[in-house]
């Protein structure tokens, strides 16, 4: 059965002007089979690369292979539907401009996705903060990036937004520092408290030796002497140690009679009455007169 392709846009680079229904079906079948094959290959690659390369690198390789297969198969079989691939590329340039204007956001996301994969400010599995969304990157697709928030919600962010906004990659560097401020009473020995905290840090495996931790009196507050504790920890362990060591410090200080004071204000009540006269002394008459005269002078 022969179908006339006159209804097609004449701008399209028609290879021979005619196409059979069989070739169209063949084209669809080849594309379907290729998609199926690419998916199977992706699954196989995902399984075989699992223990050999990082998840991020593996996913990038799989995506390149998947889309590469589809692109090659698509262009190499365009002749089946009567389109000359070389002419298509030329026409594609004009069509691309038209499509670009028509779908600016999609193209913008696509290009941003490409640059995200090249520049790699984030990788799959990283903990990031993009705008006000914080969580784990679970996939970087060609149009969007998927984030699983710490609450377990899935947030899809268009790549254009990811690329143009501030990205904080929490796990890019191997170590991270955290800080606690410990308040002790003025009556407590700050040196003893510092020694106890340092000893506690020394016993904590994930409190790194280098960069070294620092413990020092940072402020003499209204109600307390403030000790600042700064500790570096492996980036994947910092939250655990941060929460654990704060309570350990509190308990250790209390065990050694060093307490965290409540906000307080010392009020001094003066009990001696030196300024209060013992008895009222009579005012001399001359003094009263002078006061009266003064009032008269003012009124005059």
């Amino acid at each position: 059965m022969i179908v006339d392709l006159d209804f097609l846009d004449t701008n399209l680079p028609i290879f021979d002007g005619t196409v059979t229904l069989g070739s169209v079906i063949k084209f669809i079948l080849i594309l379907s089979f290729s998609t199926f094959f690419a998916k199977i290959l992706s699954l196989y690659m995902r399984r075989s690369l699992k223990d050999k390369v990082s998840k991020d690198a593996g996913e990038t390789i799989i995506k390149i292979v998947y889309y590469g297969i589809l692109t090659i198969v698509f262009f190499s079989n365009l002749r089946l539907i009567g389109i000359n691939p070389s002419g298509f590329l030329l026409a594609g340039g004009v069509a691309g401009i038209v499509l670009g204007f028509a779908s600016q956001n999609i193209v913008g996301n696509l290009v941003s996705g490409f640059f995200l994969m090249v520049e790699r400010p984030i990788k799959i599995g990283d903990q990031v903060q993009i705008s006000d969304v914080a969580g784990y990157v679970i996939d970087i697709r060609i149009i969007s990036t998927l984030i699983r928030t710490y609450d377990g919600l899935l947030v899809r962010i268009p790549n254009q937004q990811v690329f143009t906004t501030n990205i904080t990659n929490i796990v890019e560097h191997p170590v991270r520092r955290f800080e606690h401020t410990i308040r002790i009473r003025y009556s407590d020995d700050a040196n003893a408290a510092i020694w106890l905290i340092k000893d506690l840090i020394d016993k904590e495996p994930f409190a790194l030796l280098n960069p070294s931790p620092s413990v020092f009196v940072s402020d003499l507050g209204d109600s307390s002497v403030n000790i600042t504790v700064r500790i570096w920890a492996p980036v994947n362990e910092w939250f655990g140690i941060k929460t654990r060591i704060l309570w350990d410090i509190k308990q250790t200080l209390e065990e050694n009679a060093i307490e965290i004071p409540l906000p307080q204000r010392v009020v001094h009540i003066q009990t001696d009455s030196k300024k209060v006269p013992d008895k009222l002394e009579p005012v001399p008459e001359k003094e009263i007169e002078s006061v009266l005269n003064y009032e008269e002078r003012v009124l005059a």
């Binding site: 170590v175 790194l208 280098n210 570096w232």
Partner: protein
Amino acid sequence: MYGRYNPPFSVEQEGIAISVEKTGEQWIYRRTLGTENVEKIILGDEKCLIINPVEPLNTPKEITPNLLIEFEKHLLLSGGAKRKIFLTFPIEIGVFIADKEEKNLQLLDVLSLVKQKFTLYGEVSNGVICKHWKSQIYSISPSPNPLQEGIIELTLRNTSSDWASISKVVFSAYGMKLYYAGDVFMRARMDILNRNTAETGFDLQHLSGELKSSSLKDFKSRKEAFGVYSLQKLGFVPLKFYMGWGF
């Protein structure tokens, strides 16, 4: 404590108590160390347990494959020189379950009697996390407690013409090969490339041949330990460590 055990058994040393007992149709593995208790169920007969020293990078959590040994005193090595020193390294005790032929090994438990500490080697932005250990430098092999410390025979080779001041050495666990008998032993090397860089690695050949003539110990009697890292299916993992941030 190191060796092969056929269940049921019970062994106790230096505060570590390990036992495997049969309860009904299943075996129960129990381990106690201080306040820490581990209990696991084993389904399967004709199995044996192997307790041997393993790479010191599994406890309290496996977060790095690198071990940094800091020297208690700086060591100066003249240009072009090659010298042999001995260091100590921390030991972790691995408990494996295996077939009677000691095949199909599976790690059951890892424990350690020594203090755990981590450090960063290199810069904050691109350094590497390492397990930290501080060691004296010995000219002859020391005799530490084999449940706590092992011995590294380290061959230092200064390939540059300048003096090298060495205060630390970093090893990758992927190349580690431990041998044990009355002590725990490793052979390693450190090639100093220039003022700031060095390369470290382990000698993988069996401890026979040239070492047989050594007067230090009867190396022939040492047994090769099963390692945790050697059980893992490795891809392209470098067995050497390149010390690019000084030594």
